[in-house]
């Protein structure tokens, strides 16, 4: 296992980077959603993350977990459609896992992500392979767990590898049939399209690596 830990300041960077990616890609993500869905994904996601940025200073920053729980509340309340509960659950489950913590090991991060994936699957009913953001998150968690088990390399190297895995998932899943969310209504026509949630997670993961390297 890599020896370093992720500090609270670095977790803050992770969240704010995710927010920036969502806000900067508002039109792009909606466009991807428009291919097979109802073209509101980018707008919904950006709306939630804009509130996260606007209210950031007022959040409870006494621990990583408390801040993530406040992020979760803001996302859930301000993100339209099912994206609110789905992305809110990502931050709620990690927030609950990291309560009282001011730094995280790679093992902690894998545990938190696994809990988030389980929560999102329960909430939205998605399974692995349904062509949703769960597939991208699972690719990240699996890659991070592998790095953790190998005990080789730095935390940042593990993140970079995981981001590549998320990026690879967008291409892998392109040929799949969407089985959940609005995209699923189109059945086989969803083959050869990108799932906007998977793309967003991949873009966020790449941006997080860049931001943490800076």
């Amino acid at each position: 296992m890599p020896m370093e830990t992720l500090s609270q300041a670095q977790v803050d960077t992770v969240v704010l980077t995710m927010a920036d990616v969502a806000i900067q890609n508002e039109a792009h993500f909606s466009e991807l959603d428009g291919v097979m869905g109802d073209a509101d994904f980018g707008v919904s996601l950006a709306a939630g993350f804009k509130v996260v940025k606007a209210n950031w200073a007022s959040f409870d920053h006494s621990s990583i977990g408390s801040a993530l729980l406040d992020v979760s509340k803001a996302i859930t309340a301000n993100t339209g459609g099912t994206s609110g509960p789905v992305w809110g659950t990502l931050f709620m489950r990690t927030g609950l896992a990291f309560r009282g913590r001011t730094e995280l090991t790679l093992t902690d991060i894998v545990t938190g992500l696994r809990s988030a994936i389980e929560g999102i699957m329960k909430r939205g009913g998605a399974q692995l392979g349904d062509k949703t953001l769960v597939d991208a998150l699972d690719a990240i968690a699996t890659s991070l767990a592998d790095s953790d088990a190998s005990g080789q390399g730095t935390l940042l190297a593990a993140f970079a590898k995981a981001a590549d895995a998320a990026y690879a998932m967008r291409e892998t899943s392109k040929g799949w049939i969407a089985k959940r969310g609005r995209q699923a209504n189109t059945g086989e026509r969803s083959i050869d399209t990108y799932d906007p949630g998977i793309v967003a997670v991949g873009d966020m993961a790449q941006a997080i690596v860049t931001a943490l390297s800076a």
Binding site: L69, A77, M92, G119, R123
Partner: protein, 334 residues
């Protein structure tokens, strides 16, 4: 759109302010989370809360009181409460020593997710607090719809609240109150008809278009499409269809006792509601159903929509007893 409103975005807030100012002897108000709760919260009983959207008044913001809800936390007009409303409302109830907290949830996808999350957060923050759930889904009109997987929860919700609350006041355990709620939910069947649309203040335009001579058969309480669009017909014809759909959905035997509700959707005069009740009562008699309780008025509305819904609730001695138990809430004593 013509409405009595100041800032449309503050419509729900301003309504809550009015409810609170009119009932300061019995209610407390938490404006940030649309929460109203009982001022003298009774101790050592199951405490019951419900949210759903606003725009369905008197459900749920005007039915907090003895023998009905202990607290409510509805979202904006026709919007599920955000999960922190559910969390904060649960935390307020948990301050009073209790036999458990019951979340009553109408079956809509957004509500299910928000309450699921709020419950999960509450359980993490209050590890010793027992929380139970009853899902209400009484609408026979359609199986899945715009905002649901499965049947929608509509006006039959009243019977679940009334029975659960009476059971709770009698000191029943959380498991017993949940069982009462599930039993009543299994015995309520509803369907609605709309003559007109309605306009959420912050939206400013009607939620759907409907012609002067048209009706929506099986309309949802957020204006969701029902079974079909039809032409206006005599009330007897409409009641024939609605009564048959509702009564045929549950096996009834001659001699069964029922409660009958004619619920106004917000813009229907009481005269028409009683006319409809007469038609429903005659059809009950034809089937040999004994009307033990009747409810005619507004219980679960869609703002100013013209229309009604019929609910039949099958009764046994236990449930009839709960419906007859005393209650005191801002708008009506049952």
């Amino acid at each position: 759109m013509k409405k009595f409103v100041d800032d449309p975005a503050l419509f729900v807030h301003d309504m809550f302010e009015g409810i609170y100012l009119a009932n300061q002897d019995t209610l407390e108000w938490v404006p940030e989370y649309n929460i109203l709760y009982r001022k003298n919260m009774p101790q050592d009983k199951v405490l019951i809360m419900q949210g759903s959207g606003s725009g369905h008044e008197p459900a749920h913001s005007m039915i907090v009181g003895q023998g009905m809800l202990d607290a409510c936390c509805p979202g904006n007009v026709f919007a599920a409460p955000p999960m922190d409303y559910v969390l904060e409302c649960t935390k307020i109830l948990a301050r009073t020593p209790n036999k458990g907290i019951l979340h009553l949830i109408n079956n809509y996808t957004g509500d299910r997710m928000a309450w699921d999350m709020g419950k999960e957060m509450a359980e993490a923050e209050l590890p010793d607090q027992e929380i139970g759930v009853v899902i209400v889904n009484d609408d026979v009109a359609v199986q899945d719809s715009l905002y649901t997987v499965g049947r929608r929860g509509v006006a039959g919700n009243f019977f679940v609240i009334k029975a659960c609350a009476a059971a709770a006041e009698q000191g029943k355990s959380l498991a017993e109150v949940v069982a009462v709620g599930e039993k009543v939910n299994g015995w309520i069947r509803s369907m609605g008809i709309a003559l007109s649309s309605c306009t959420p203040p912050a939206k400013g335009t009607p939620i759907f278009e409907i012609g002067d001579d048209e009706i929506e058969v099986g309309v949802g309480i957020h204006g969701e499409p029902g079974r079909r669009r039809d032409k206006i017909r005599p009330a007897s014809d409409i009641m024939d269809e609605v009564f048959t759909a509702v009564a045929n959905d549950l096996p009834y035997e001659a001699g069964d006792r029922v409660a009958v509700m004619i619920n106004g959707l917000g813009g229907t005069p009481i005269s028409e509601l009683y006319l409809l009740y007469g038609l429903a009562a005659k059809r009950c008699a034809e089937r040999g159903l004994v009307i033990a309780k009747n409810y005619v008025g507004e219980y679960c509305t869609s703002l100013e929509m013209q229309g009604f819904s019929l609910t039949l609730c099958k009764l046994d001695e236990e449930i009839e007893g709960y419906l007859n138990a005393p209650a005191a809430i801002p708008i009506r004593v049952f």
